[in-house]
């Protein structure tokens, strides 16, 4: 049950152009920095990326956008990235914007054997176009389908060789649900430990959802909005 890879380069060795990837993170918080850097290095393209956000112009998924490696983005909010907006408005980039809760639940459903579900989010909006509507308790709901990915790339704080993961603070966000939905889930962690070192009571993602794990390096953890109160 040893799932350990040496680094990002080895862990993503079989990611190919045209594949669908899920990438954890909210803004730049909890993103798989090492895997993204290696995807840029590897130069795979025509990727479909499922990620809540699209990074900023020079970090996160913005790095893949700059190199035009992404064909399609499935996200909920992309407001921090000018290159993204340019590629989308010019039609170079296909974009599917979906409500954040539906995005999270579609990943969770994908990893949970639930092919589709009804949600009230988006009824009466563009999001509902072409989707089945059904009333439950006199309220309209739309049918949303599960999301899957060839690879899910997630970032955790600590992980062990069995793939058990613990996230830090709000860096958890989409990582646990995406870890469930990848055909192959690659976890990069700040601290890789021996089995038994993580308290089982506090594991967030059980190792069964993780196929590969590696110790990440040089985490930049950029902050988008550094806000303070006065002392």
């Amino acid at each position: 049950m040893n799932k350990v890879y040496k680094n990002a380069k080895e862990a993503i060795f079989d990611i190919k152009s045209g594949m669908t990837l899920m990438l954890g993170g909210f803004g730049l918080c909890g993103i798989p920095e090492n895997c993204i850097a290696e995807l840029v290095e590897k130069g795979v393209n025509n990727l479909t990326c499922i990620s809540n956000n699209a990074g900023v112009d020079n970090f996160g998924l913005g790095l893949l956008l700059q190199k035009k490696q992404i064909k399609k983005m499935i996200s909920s909010y992309v407001g921090e990235n000018e290159e993204f907006e340019r590629q989308m408005l010019s039609g170079e980039l296909e974009v599917d914007l979906i409500p954040q809760g539906s995005l999270a639940e579609r990943c969770r459903a994908g990893g949970s054997g639930i092919p589709a579900f009804f949600t009230p989010a988006g009824f009466g909006t563009e999001v509902a176009e072409g989707k089945e509507v059904r009333y439950f308790n006199n309220k309209p709901h739309i049918l949303e389908s599960a999301l899957f990915a060839d690879f899910a790339l997630v970032k955790a704080w600590k992980g062990d060789k069995f793939g058990n993961l613990i996230y830090k603070g709000t860096a958890r966000n989409f990582n646990p649900v995406m870890a469930m939905a990848g055909k192959i889930t690659i976890a990069e962690v700040e601290e890789l430990v021996e089995p038994g070192e993580l308290d089982p009571y506090f594991v967030h993602t059980p190792g069964i959802f993780v196929q590969r794990i590696f110790q990440g390096i040089n985490y930049e953890k950029r902050i988008e909005q550094r806000t303070f109160r006065k002392r």
Binding site: F26, G27, L28, C29, G30, N52, S75, S76, Y77, V78, G79, E80, E85, M88, L89, V95, L97, I98, P99, Q100, G101, S102, L103, A104, E105, C107, R108, T119, P120, A121, G122, F123, G124, T125, E126, V127, W157, K168, G169, T170, A171, R172, N173, F174, N175, P176, V177, H204, K221, R222, I223, E224, Q225, R226, T227, F228, R229, R231
Partner: protein, 217 residues
């Protein structure tokens, strides 16, 4: 006329003891600064916090602790953090008692538009569609008119919708209004703003009944 902080302060008067509250980006975030004395609420941030606290002191900021606006924040004692699916289970499952968010347009039947200007601005809906589709109590914080002076409280929205018939109350720079089945009902005026000014700034059906009191802080 109210400034952004005063809009937030007026909305804070709507908070009730024991509520879980989700604050959107922009003016709604400021509501947390004006929680009335004696009222205990917990703020939910949809990226995965319950019990969100104020911004950190300089030097204490943590890249792994942000709010939905990607700002560095802190946790209060008794806070919890969780994943995005759990966060939206709280929202969709009606465990959150109040949602405060901004809007580009609101219509007289409570439709809201706040995520897209076709061909110009496409930032995405984020969690707004999930929030407005499920919350029982939605207050919109907004400017009454746009930069050209045109009303943003309309008969029907011209921009792509975020949700239908969901807004319950609006606090603008000019007034507090309830959304009723017959249109916007004027509840309070901002200090120094006349009923006539509010009538002129409201394109949608506006109900004015009796004396309209001025807001007090």
């Amino acid at each position: 006329m109210l400034n952004k902080n005063q809009i937030a302060q007026r909305i804070a008067q709507e908070l009730r003891n024991g509520w879980y509250v989700n604050l959107g980006i922009g003016i709604p975030t400021l509501v947390a600064n004006y929680v009335p004395k004696g009222v205990e609420v917990e703020f939910q941030s949809e990226n995965g916090i319950l019990g969100m606290g104020p911004f950190p002191y300089e030097g204490d900021e943590d890249a792994d602790m942000i709010n939905a606006g990607k700002q560095t924040v802190t946790l209060l004692p008794g806070a919890s953090v969780f994943d995005s699916a759990t966060s939206f289970a709280m929202i969709r499952g009606k465990h959150v008692q109040l949602t405060v968010l901004g809007a580009m347009e609101v219509s007289q039947n409570g439709d809201i538009a706040n995520w897209k200007i076709p061909g110009k601005m496409v930032k995405g809906m984020g969690g707004a569609m999930d929030l407005v589709a499920s919350a029982d109590n939605i207050i919109v914080a907004m400017m009454h008119t746009n930069r050209e002076g045109e009303s943003k409280l309309l008969k029907s929205c011209s921009l792509p919708l975020t949700g239908v018939a969901c807004v319950k109350k609006i606090v603008s720079n000019l007034a507090v209004l309830d959304v009723t089945e017959h249109g916007f009902k004027l509840i309070e005026r901002a200090p120094g703003v006349s009923v006539e000014e509010i009538v002129n700034a409201t394109e949608g059906n506006l109900i004015v009944e009796g004396e309209i009191p001025e807001m007090s802080f």
